[in-house]
Symmetry: C2
DNA sequence: TACAATAATGCAATCGTTTGCGCAAGTCAA
DNA sequence: TTGACTTGCGCAAACGATTGCATTATTGTA
C-alpha cells in the first residue's frame, strides 16, 4: 500500500495539486465546495502530509534537537521532559540524542541533527566546544547549552545553576555541620560544571581553614563505576574522610555502594553529599543530602530560549540564565 | 550564512551536481583527482548533506520513532537507552516522543512521527489500539509494541514480560512469606499490562485460598498522585492490609509517601511490593521489593525487531517476545 | 589509423510539497 | 457595454539530493 499524495487526490478530483494543497492548508482562495470535497477525500484516503517534502520546500522543520550524555540519568530525562513540554506547546518536535558520555558520539549526534535540519539545538556537552560548532557557526541556528558550558563555548547561550557558588555554599554547609575531614569526587574539569564545582569546593575549604587532603580529592568521569572505584581507593587509604561531596548522582550512587560494602553507615560514619541526587519520592535516598538543579525547569527554559531566538529578533544576543538549585533531604541535614 | 549545497560546490569547480554527489558518496565512477578536489572543497566549505532532500529522494529516512508515556520514568528512559544503542549501531536515528500518559497526545506523537516518515515505530501505548493504526495499517511500516499490548492490537509485534505469570508468581511469593492480608493498586485495565497483572494477582489469591478484600484492590492511573491518594484511602479504612502490590513504580512511590505519613514502617507494618521499582544503585529503595522488566533489553529487542523487519523478508510475521523479569532486593525478601 | 571498449562526466527526471504569478470567469458600478 | 475588481484555479519553479541513461573523453588493440 503506497502512501497517498496530493497528486493522487488531485487526480481523483480532476484538480491541480496546487488547489488541493491550498484547500488543505487554508492558504489561498478555494471555493467552499471544492475545499469540502478535497478535505473529505483526504480524510477518506488517509492522506498524511509528507514532512520531508514540506520542510524541504519551506526550509523549516519545526524541530529542535537535544543531546544529553545519559538519557537514563534522571536529571537528564527530566530536562528532556521539560523541553518536550515546551516543544509540544509551541508546535515543535523534539529530537533526542544520547551521547553516552562520549565526545565522539556527541559530535556524531550533533552532525546528524544538523543534517536533519533542526531549527535549534540544546546541548549538554561532555567536553570542550564541539568541533562541529567551530565549523558550523552558531549564527546558523540557535544553540543553547545546559548544565555546563564547555571550554571554548563561553559566548553561547547557557541555562544552568551557578555551579561555583552552589558548590561553595554547599561545602560551607557541610563544614558548618562540624565536618572537617572532607573529600570530593569531582567531575571532569574540562566541563565547566566539573571545574566550577571543584573550585567552589576548594575555595570553601580554604575560606574556612579546613585542610585539603589531596588523597581525598579526585577527578573522575561521571559514572557509577568511577564513583565506586574511586571511593574504594579513598576508603583503602590510611586516614578516612568523614564526609564526601560528589559532583553528580552517578558518582554518589557508585560511591555509596563502596561505602556500604566497607561496612560503613551513612551518614553516621560517612556523610554523603551530592549534586543532582534528587529523588522525587522523597523517600528513596534518605541518606544522601543533595543539591539539585531544577531539571525540568532547565529543559523548559532552554527550549523557550530557542523558540524565542527562532521567532524573535535578538537572534544574536547571548544570554546566561542561572537558576536556583534546591536541597533535598535538607531537613535531616 | 547560508547552507552550502552540492550545487555550490559544483559551480565553484565547474562540475555538475551529479559528479559532486557521486564523488562524495562514492557511488559511480569519478576520476581520483576530481574526487579529491570535491572532497577537499566540501570539507573546506563545511558542506553537510541535507537529510530532508536525501530522504525525500530515497524514500528512506533511516529513523525509528518511539513513543513512551513518561520519559522521566526510569523504566522508560532505560528502554529508550537500549533502543538508542541499537539505532546507533545500525545507523538509524531514534526519534523520541513523550505522550504524558495521555491517549490524545499519543495519537499526536504517532501522527507527527509518521509524517516525518520514520521507517518504524516502537510504542508503549497508554490505551487501546491507537486509531491512527486502524487508519494507516501496519503493513505500511513495522510497529512493535512494548510493555503491553493495547486492546485491539493483539496482532502486532510485542516485546515485554509475561505479565500474567509474573503477577501470579510474584503474588504467590508474597503469600508464601506468610502474608494473608494483601491488597493491590492495579493499573488501568484497558492496558494489557494493567489487566494481566491484576488477573495474575487475583488468581494467586484464589489459588492459595486467600481472601480478596475489595476495598484493598483498586484500579488506578499510573501516577504518583494516584498512588498516594489511593493508598491513603486504603489506610483510612477499618481493616488494613499487611502487604501491598503495585502495578508500577510511580504507584509504589506515591503510596510509600502515604504509608510513611501514616507513621507505618516498611516492611514491618506494611510490605511494599511493586513492578518496575528497580533501582540500579541497589541501595536506594531497600524497602521495596520489586519485580522488574529488563528495560534496556526490551528497548534493544524492540529496536532490533524493527530493523530486522526493515531489512528482512518476514515483514508480515507477528512475533511476541517475552523476556524474563528479575527481582531486586529479593535477597532481603 | 580506426574502432571498440572503458572511464569520466552531464542531462534531466524524480521525491512531495508550497507559492508567485498569470489567466479565465464572474460580479459590479458607471 | 466597458473597465475595474474579485474569485477560483492552474502552471511551473523552487527546495537539495540521487540516479538511469546518454554523451563525451580516454585508452587499448589490431
Amino acid at each position: 500500500m503506497n502512501t497517498v499524495t496530493l497528486k493522487d487526490i488531485a487526480d481523483q478530483l480532476g484538480l491541480s495539486v496546487t488547489t488541493v494543497s491550498r484547500a488543505l492548508s487554508g492558504n489561498g482562495r478555494v471555493k467552499k465546495e471544492t475545499t469540502d470535497k478535497v478535505v473529505e477525500l483526504a480524510e477518506k484516503s488517509n492522506y498524511m502530509v509528507n514532512s520531508l517534502a514540506r520542510s524541504l520546500r519551506l526550509s523549516d522543520t519545526r524541530s529542535i534537537g537535544i543531546v544529553v550524555p545519559d538519557i537514563s540519568n534522571n536529571f537528564f530525562s527530566n530536562v528532556i521532559k521539560g523541553a518536550q513540554e515546551v516543544c509540544h506547546e509551541r508546535g515543535y518536535m523534539l529530537m533526542v540524542c544520547n551521547s553516552d558520555e562520549n565526545a565522539h558520539y556527541e559530535e556524531e549526534a550533533l552532525k546528524t541533527l544538523l543534517e536533519k535540519q533542526v531549527s535549534g539545538l540544546i546541548v549538554a556537552s561532555v567536553g570542550s566546544c564541539p568541533k562541529i560548532f567551530s565549523r558550523y557557526p552558531k549564527n546558523r541556528l540557535p544553540v543553547v547549552y545546559i548544565d555546563n558550558v564547555p571550554t571554548g563555548a563561553e559566548n553561547y547561550d547557557l541555562v544552568s545553576i551557578d555551579n561555583y557558588t552552589a558548590a561553595l555554599e554547599f561545602t560551607r554547609s557541610v563544614i558548618s555541620r562540624g565536618y572537617r575531614e572532607i573529600g570530593m569526587i569531582a567531575g571532569p574539569r574540562k566541563q565547566s560544571s566539573g571545574l566550577m564545582r571543584y573550585k567552589g569546593f576548594v575555595q570553601a575549604l580554604m575560606d574556612e581553614g579546613v585542610e585539603l587532603v589531596p588523597e581525598w580529592i579526585v577527578e573522575s568521569e561521571f559514572s557509577l563505576e568511577s564513583g565506586y572505584e574511586n571511593m574504594k581507593k579513598i576508603l583503602s587509604g590510611g586516614k578516612m574522610p568523614r564526609a564526601m561531596l560528589f559532583a553528580n548522582n552517578k558518582l554518589a550512587y557508585g560511591a555509596v555502594k563502596a561505602i556500604l560494602e566497607a561496612g560503613l553507615r551513612i551518614p553516621e560514619d560517612m556523610a554523603v553529599v551530592s549534586f543532582d541526587a534528587f529523588d522525587h519520592t522523597g523517600l528513596v535516598t534518605p541518606q544522601i543530602v543533595s543539591l539539585n538543579q531544577p531539571a525540568e525547569e532547565i529543559g523548559r527554559r532552554a527550549c523557550e530560549r530557542i523558540v524565542e531566538k527562532l521567532s524573535g529578533s535578538d537572534h544574536q544576543q547571548v544570554k546566561h540564565v542561572f537558576l536556583k538549585p534546591f536541597y533535598t533531604n535538607g531537613n535531616s541535614w
